[in-house]
């Protein structure tokens, strides 16, 4: 191929990708920088005000009782959601990996909530988790009473302190199919010889999973933990749909939205968003680095 043609193509490839790179540069990195600037400003009200405020917005958040509630709620949500989704996804994948009839049907069934919006999930679960008691009992509580499982009845997301765990239940419903799919792909990638060799050595099914499969699935578990963990830091729509904007179920994403667009405390809203970004970056940057690194080694 001629040198001229090669240069022309190289030039063309750069021209064609430039708009996308510029868009990423401006709309992601430029805007993050802009948000950082807002977070260091005194902007409060409809009109932009970039007068310097130092770290005051961040410092105030550390003394803000609402933000403390948010952090506590995020920790509860993350704990219940991530552990629940990983364990459930793992068990579903192991069951489906046994070569049963109807595997495809169950797999599709466990995954369908992934296609639905968090808003839809939230609206439906809000009625399932209706906390009304006595003659107005309904939703899952009513179902429990039909099944004579009354001891399971509870106030769901209106439970003091632990209400977030109920929201996490709806999130587990939505996302466990995803971890199932990750684990199923991981299990299918394990060579069958390994399993057979262990069986010949007299290992039972449980031992095979305990000593061979689970350690080999460690990279899958790690990705699942990181992906789910960063999702739970960002949780927003699901809570809005189940509970609206209620203080007991507040999280940083809702606080940011409300304080910025309802309260017009732009400086504070931007500070919350940057703290959110940092917490996500701590999880995601090493993950991207690790994934691309192992990719080039292969």
């Amino acid at each position: 191929m001629s040198k001229l043609l090669k240069d022309k193509d190289r030039f063309l490839s750069i021209v064609l990708i430039t708009p996308s790179i510029l868009a990423v540069l401006i709309f992601i990195y430029g805007f993050i920088g802009w948000s950082v600037r807002v977070s260091l400003s005194k902007w409060k009200g409809l009109n932009p005000d970039y007068s310097w405020n130092g770290l005051a917005n961040y410092i105030n958040l550390f003394y803000d009782p609402r933000f403390a509630v948010d952090v506590r709620n995020t920790v509860i949500f993350t704990g219940v959601f991530v552990i629940g989704t990983v364990l459930l996804g793992f068990f579903l994948a192991v069951m489906l990996d046994q070569g049963l009839k109807g595997e495809g049907f169950f797999r599709s069934l466990f995954l369908f909530p992934m296609a639905i919006s968090y808003i839809v999930t939230g609206v439906v679960w809000r009625w399932l988790m209706n906390p009304a008691t006595g003659s107005r009992t309904s939703g899952l509580n009513l179902l429990f009473s039909y099944l004579h499982l009354d001891f399971l009845q509870n106030a769901w997301h209106t439970t003091p302190k632990w209400g977030m765990a109920a929201i996490a239940l709806a999130a587990i419903w939505q996302m466990s199919g995803y971890t199932m799919a990750l684990y199923l792909a991981g299990l299918r990638a394990i060579p069958i010889e390994l399993r057979e060799a262990a069986q010949i050595d007299g290992a039972n099914e449980f031992q095979i999973y305990r000593h061979i499969m689970i350690p080999l699935l460690a990279p899958v578990t790690l990705s699942a933990l990181i992906i789910l963990g960063h999702m739970s830091l960002k949780v927003f729509d699901l809570i809005v749909a189940v509970a609206g904007k209620q203080l007991p179920l507040d999280v940083p994403a809702i606080y940011m939205w409300q304080t910025t667009f309802d309260g017009l405390f732009y400086g504070r809203g931007a500070a919350i968003s940057i703290l959110l970004l940092i917490s996500v970056a701590v999880l995601i940057i090493p993950y991207i680095w690790y994934t691309l690194h192992t990719e080039t080694e292969q």
Binding site: A23, W34, S35, F106, L111, P113, A115, Y118, L128, W257
Partner: protein
Amino acid sequence: MKKTSRLGKYWLYLPLIAMAIFYLIPLYVMLVTGFKSFAEVDLKTMWNLPSGIHFDNYIEAYSKLAPSLWNSFAMVIPAALLSSALGSLNGFILAKWKFRGADAIFPFILFGMFIPYQSILIPLVQFMNAVGIKGLPGLALAHIIYGIPITTLTFRNYYASLPQELLEAAKIDGADMLKIYRYILLPLSAPSFVVVLIWQFTSAWNDFLFAVVLTGNKQWPITVALNNMAGSQIIAWNVQMAGSLLAALPPLLIYIFLGRYFLRGLLAGSLKG
């Protein structure tokens, strides 16, 4: 690999069916409530089957949500098409036409798909207001731009898996870059286009955060309209259930008919595609 006894295996259906019920409960309530007549709707009998098939709730929900359903379609379709086209072009260049530094910028593009969008939200709203792109076009633009990372990733991984010889032969024949893309790569890209189109359609359809800050009353897409309907005291829960089904239906139908491709998009989103 035949170790577990037959009986041992059949036991597995018990937990599987129990889990199937867990996943179906919300769907059951949505469907059953939707098909009840207004007269038989009562929270106390919410688990009962309807006496017959009635469409009261769906008609009522549709009359309330129809404009926003069409808003969603009008915004999602161009957004999905354009971001897929961009992703394909970017993926081609980053996989097969690497310029110096191409590998270095890729992680920076990728990071964009994980950021909490709150961290760009204030500038985004300011920017849209400043340039005067309001409502649905602005929302579509946001989905196109913030879709670039995942669409680029999916196409890049797919094109990288194609053998380099495919291009070399064409190069020897004197084909330039655009010809190679147009006549060799593009015809092979249909499966990836399906994956990416589905992914972008679903995520733009299901989005709430961008929609709620970028659109007003008349231009609300379905998620915002549904959420506001659920938050109001006037609209009964049965209509909300029917509305939820209407909002869930387009992505759900795609999932039912093209589930395989949906799954691939899902795995790509965790960088595992």
